[in-house]
């Protein structure tokens, strides 16, 4: 696979929820690329649209949610485009329940859910669900699938995988359960793994183990990962590239080092400032972002962040929509502070 071409390219994605009370623009024009072997972290507060973004990529948004605009271009090895015969498929054109989408979902794009406990069926064994995942996409017998399942469990560091296959998910500890879930997601060697806050439901020590495991599996299989989290610490640990989201829009994107050491957007700066540090003298008050996320029905016009922004420019930020544009060869920002700088001839 050509590493210089994106595996997944999300372009101007808009996913709206049409409720009786009004339309919620959960994702409102999101752009980002995922290259082969890259770990992209999407970070943002609850309600910023990060989960809806990845559900849209998987084509799992449920009514009344719908993708209204944009493209999700994915380089597939199982499905080719119906018209052009190209291996780059626009996933938004596929029927979400159709055969083509289903042969991508689970096989080429896999998901690790937020709550492994609730994501396993409690009345089926772990093995039943693992073997099922394998046989959905690979033409193997039950016995062969069982062997693959045991290998996969072994790979994620599950002790006694043969016995664990016949266990129920609630008989496993939190960490093992998430490992079993990872084994299931990786069962068909996906090229893109989407991890939706996979460590929020487990304790911090186990969390570190699971992150290390994901990172080493990613290197081993040369997978791409989209990692969703609200935890900047986790982002720093796993991601190569970061997408910062706020109210359904991308605020800033860039390599993880630049985002942490040279944040450009006022929102990114504010987020980084509110991380507690062991170097700050005790008794110092932790900075927070003023105000709270606006209600989805009363989105501000213009830049969604302006009511809480320290660098708010009246008449500019609340009048027009800022566009995401490259500032240097690495970072892109959606903020008027940089548009003006660019416009000035230097």
């Amino acid at each position: 696979m050509n590493p210089t071409e994106p595996l997944l390219s999300v372009q101007n994605l808009k996913t709206y929820f049409f409720l009786d009370e009004g339309t919620v623009k959960a994702v409102d024009g999101v752009d980002f690329d995922v290259y082969p072997g890259q770990v992209v972290g999407i970070v943002g507060e609850s309600g910023c649209g990060k989960s809806v973004t990845i559900k849209s990529v998987l084509r799992l948004t449920q009514k009344p949610g719908r993708i209204v605009e944009g493209k999700i271009l994915f380089r597939s090895q199982r499905v080719t485009d119906a018209d052009s015969g190209s291996d780059v498929i626009d996933l938004t054109t596929l029927d979400p329940h159709g055969k083509r989408m289903r042969s991508i979902r689970g096989a080429e794009i896999a998901m690790i859910p937020q709550e492994p406990m609730a994501s396993f069926s409690p009345v089926h064994t772990v093995g039943n669900q693992l073997i099922e995942a394998i046989r959905l996409h690979e033409d193997v017998s039950k016995e062969e699938a069982r062997q693959i399942a045991i290998e996969r469990l072994h790979e994620v560091g599950m002790p006694n995988p043969e016995q664990r296959l016949d266990a129920y998910s609630w008989e496993l500890s939190g960490g093992l359960r998430q490992r079993a879930m990872i084994a299931m997601s990786l069962s068909c060697n996906p090229h893109l793994l989407i991890a939706d806050e996979p460590t929020t439901a487990i304790d911090v020590t186990t969390q570190a183990q699971v992150l290390n495991l994901l990172r080493s599996l990613q290197k081993m299989h040369n997978m791409s990962i989209i990692f969703i989290t609200h935890d900047l610490g986790v982002i720093a640990q796993v991601a190569d590239y970061v997408v910062v989201m706020y109210l359904g829009r991308v605020m800033e994107t860039g390599p993880v080092d630049d985002i942490f050491h040279n944040p450009l957007h006022p929102y990114t700066k504010a987020l980084l400032k509110s991380i507690p540090s062991i170097y700050s003298p005790s008794g110092t008050e932790l900075p927070t972002i003023e105000g709270s996320i606006p209600h989805p029905f009363s989105r501000p016009s213009g830049c969604p962040f302006y009511p809480r922004c320290e660098a708010f420019m009246a008449g500019v930020c609340n009048a027009k929509d800022p566009e995401l544009q490259s500032i240097n060869e690495r970072q892109s920002v959606s903020c008027f502070l940089y548009e003006e700088k660019q416009m000035q001839p230097s």
Partner: protein
């Protein structure tokens, strides 16, 4: 698991014993006894009875003894497998109710199967195609089913059958088979008649069960394990049937326990309207006539069914749900 079932079976006689005391006391609770209602009946037809005769009748039936003595006599006979004789019908109870119990069980079993066969698919369609035309159609159908008393449905269907086809649909047998010994022809005749009461009772049950199934499934459809199954690339129908439907049926399994006796007693009014030779109308008559041994025997059968029904649903639940199996 086996241990659990054995434990439950050992508990069965004790439960029956306790319930039998309640049953006996309750049957005795109305003022007067069989002799009182017998005399009232005689008086209504113009004849009178003197006190000596009344006392003789009472002591003949053992009604002059204290209640606990009567209970132990009754219980003692039951333990020997003798249900006693009906005071009203002057015949052994076992002989009196044997065929009726069998017909009731048959009616109940058919109704049960039809109810589940209709309600589960209707509930699944209602939940998976929520707010579609089919969902609204079944919702209206279900509300009508719940709101219409079964005897009303029975009367309407009887009238329709009579006015359109000129046939009488009461009873479970054609006239020539009522007292005939059991043959294949009689059984076929039974099947020709039993479908109507089965349909009437099943429509009522279906309406209720389908609503519960729909609500349960709607709850399950939003659970993360359903989304995970979708994320694996399973087809929608296959995953719905394998995961959420299985979970949504589980709570219904425990209703089988009280469904069994309910089918027996719940059909009393329909059975009366349709003149069915089942156990319900007989219980009603035995209670009004204070035929205490007959009423007692029928109620003991009900209780037995209630306990067995609960046991069956517990075993089924444990078999279907590993979480319950492991606990016990």
């Amino acid at each position: 698991m086996v241990q659990y079932i054995i434990k439950r079976l050992l508990l069965l006689p004790l439960l029956l014993f306790i319930f039998s005391i309640f049953a006996f006391v309750l049957i005795q609770a109305p003022p007067g006894d069989f002799v009182t209602s017998y005399i009232a009946e005689l008086a209504a037809s113009g004849s009178s009875v003197d006190q000596a005769q009344i006392d003789a009748l009472r002591s003949m039936y053992g009604l002059d003894q204290p209640m606990y003595v009567q209970y132990f006599h009754w219980m003692g006979r039951m333990l020997h497998g003798d249900l006693g004789a009906s005071l009203d019908w002057k015949r052994p109870i076992a002989e009196l109710i044997r065929e009726r119990v069998m017909l009731t069980v048959l009616l109940g079993a058919f109704t049960f199967v039809l109810t589940w066969a209709l309600a589960i698919p209707i509930g699944i369609i209602g939940a998976t195609k929520q707010y579609s035309f089919l969902d609204y159609f079944f919702t209206v159908f279900n509300y009508i089913g719940i709101a219409t008393p079964t005897f009303m449905t029975a009367l309407i269907l009887m009238w329709l059958a009579f006015s359109w086809f000129g046939i009488s649909v009461t009873g479970l047998f054609s006239a020539e088979y009522v007292d005939a010994p059991w043959t294949l022809a009689k059984f076929i005749d039974l099947l020709k008649h039993i479908w109507l009461p089965v349909l009437i009772l099943a429509l009522d049950g279906t309406a209720r069960l389908a609503r519960i199934m729909r609500a349960n499934l709607l709850d399950e459809l939003n659970k993360p394990y359903v989304e995970m199954a979708r994320a694996k690339g399973m087809s929608e129908w296959r995953l719905v049937l394998k995961y959420p439907v299985r979970m949504a049926i589980n709570p219904l399994i425990s209703t089988i326990g009280w469904y069994l006796p309910l089918l027996f007693s719940g059909s009393v009014i329909v059975a009366t309207v349709l003149n069915l030779p089942t156990i319900g109308p007989m219980l009603l008559r035995s209670l009004t006539n204070q035929d205490m041994f007959l009423a007692g025997a029928i109620i003991m059968i009900y209780l037995f069914l209630a306990i067995i029904g609960t046991l069956i649903s517990d075993i089924l639940l444990a078999w279907l749900d590993p979480r319950i199996r492991m606990e016990s």
